[in-house]
Symmetry: C2
Subunit: 458 residues, 2 copies
Amino acid sequence: MSRPDLAAALKGLAERFGDRLATGEPVREAHCQAPAWLPRHPPDAVVFAHSRDDVIAAVRLCAEHSVPVVPYGTGTSLEGHVNAPHGGICLDVSGMDRVLAVDADDGTATVQPGVTREALNRRVRDLGLFFSVDPGADASLGGMASTRASGTNTVRYGTMRENTLALEVVLADGRVVRTGGRARKSASGYDLTRLFVGAEGTLGVITELTVRLWPTPECTGSGVCSFPTLDAAVRTVVDAGHLGLALARIELLDPTTVRACNAYSALDLPETVHLFIELHGDEAVVKDHAARFGELALDHGGLQFAWSTVAAERARLWQARHDAWWAVHALFPGRSGIPTDVCVPVSGLAEIVAATEEDVAASGLDAALVGHVGDGNFHLLIMIDPDDPAAVRRAAQLTERLNLRAIAMGGTCTGEHGIGQGKAAVLPAEHGEAVHTMRAIKQALDPAGIMNPGKIIP
Amino acid sequence: MSRPDLAAALKGLAERFGDRLATGEPVREAHCQAPAWLPRHPPDAVVFAHSRDDVIAAVRLCAEHSVPVVPYGTGTSLEGHVNAPHGGICLDVSGMDRVLAVDADDGTATVQPGVTREALNRRVRDLGLFFSVDPGADASLGGMASTRASGTNTVRYGTMRENTLALEVVLADGRVVRTGGRARKSASGYDLTRLFVGAEGTLGVITELTVRLWPTPECTGSGVCSFPTLDAAVRTVVDAGHLGLALARIELLDPTTVRACNAYSALDLPETVHLFIELHGDEAVVKDHAARFGELALDHGGLQFAWSTVAAERARLWQARHDAWWAVHALFPGRSGIPTDVCVPVSGLAEIVAATEEDVAASGLDAALVGHVGDGNFHLLIMIDPDDPAAVRRAAQLTERLNLRAIAMGGTCTGEHGIGQGKAAVLPAEHGEAVHTMRAIKQALDPAGIMNPGKIIP
């Protein structure tokens, strides 16, 4: 990489973008996120792009002067994806927020990258369609594609990997490529769509996406059930999978989280492992499958399975799950949450969760665990005093230990948050020799190394 | 690429492989396939690999002497994937046919690349599981991953893209990489699994795969219905998708194919467009959804919808679909079939099929059309006299016209057969500037260009 000439880049960007180039500290700070144990590096400036041509112009100017480009959607990623450890320009595409086309027959939408998932869902709701991928935040679709986001209903509808059909990407030299198409499948050429999905902006900037939409289910059933042990809950999930029950969501809360929810939402749940399920289908299917799930749960020692297809009652049953994030924060006032996630084969879930609960206890830290258990994916929210460097260090160690354990079990150090800067050091432990292949691809597509440097590739 | 030294490579291979190196013409010929309008180029020799170490040794020797490597499973691909226009060594991995592990709880199987889909299904059947991807042939899983194969039940279960979780690949320099893992999802690093799936052996040789298995449905319902027009059939399919009916297969036969089946199997179907459907679920769902499909079909003018959940009756109803390939060949004795496939957004299917039927009529050729209509994917089987060069030329032109029309409609020049040598010339029309990106990746991973040269990248 040539020596960056930031001043020259800023001069060119100021000419092109005028007051859509911001260099003030508040804006720069607002465009920065880093894991607790890594230093925050706000970008040197922020460019607000309103069009593909804006993106091309900004990338070309940065390329010309060897200045890093950090793409930015809503800034809701969690592993320092928008930190700027090598400085450079944050390219904010949140203003590119138009839904360009919706095709109800084909179940596709083509959008600009700044469209958020909730905005898209508001747009397509009246067509009887919905966009399924639902990370916690109301993230932008460009960012969700870039981090290969998923969420609670992946078990039924897949992640951004399965739900992104086509992309338009501005490469590191300003050229534009279009990948994929609107057909459901293709055997034509290298799967560049899947290469850019999850590349976290290190190979280019997404300027357009075509995503899949699903028919809104005729009927939704929500249920909740407590279990005497984690293993009992996991066995129920595995058996439900074998039966092909129409589960769209299967969420697990650990006892700490349940306790937090009881306090936060004035609930009265037994403070043990709980599963929250959602079934999608027509009414007969939902009723039948809810009953069968209840029988399975009972067989495994589950208690108090309650379920409903009525909206108000469904909301009440799922309240603990919906409030979990805030409830855990409220349980530990003054603390900050450090979120992490891993994913393992479902059969290993009980083992890794048990080992993790032991690790948490041994660390002397407080943490809550919430899982998208149908996929073997779970989150640990470690609640620390942010001003206690020793606690931050222990949280980092706990996270690393969890990552390595998931990898050793045939899983991955992140099911949905991504690698970013926070987990780049773990990449070789998971991928071994394949990291060289990733590096070769990075080198081939971004030889100057200007696209979001310091992310993914260690 | 350095000048290949075939003699030196053959000497080294003979030392390493003994009588597992074959240079006789019958073996070389048996390992060659090319589209009708392209010259056949059998490889210079065939190596029968029995292990990953065999593959590494063969690839290293070929790399050392700049000799092309053409990976080979069952040789059932259709676009000249195993033709050797630049000569070189065919690496036959069909002897690597062991199922290494099956995990019923996780629904995964890890296999060597020579395991065929039917062999895997025999192995897992008693566990209540099945492997879903079903191209016509009993292809090897390594080849199916390499060509991003799919088949009739993709509409429900996905293609090899969705069903391949992890790979082991020997790269062009003999290094081994492992991609992916057994977890259902991951946001960790570039998606190399999806890069090698569909790379047609141009980036490396697959030596191990982990694939997804699905629970065998409790109940399967099969049905058939005739339609007055193609458009009526397609509208029925689109509406069924909106209703979320549990369709696992939706196959379309055009009137020519139906006529062929009537003659071949002594059936009495009206010689018009037909849909063959299959529903998977529990008995109540299958019965309910079959009834709803029947109502939809009726609304669109469909006639004589018949369906059953009884195995013998299901086989009878689907006989025309099962026999279609042979029936069409029998309808045109002495002719050879040239198969091609494209895929478009489902909403465009009626239009492109109608236009294609016109093109076929204008070409003076005979052709039959069969579609995996739930995905917008269809096959044209052009029946020509193989000794008539003018007919071969017209078939090539008809195919190209079809490819370009599918691309112009937002689709792809191949839904499941792949690019191989046969469609490499069309790649730029579909992918534009992105072909340069594909070439950059090829160059990064195989700088000497020895892996299956002449395929995919024009």
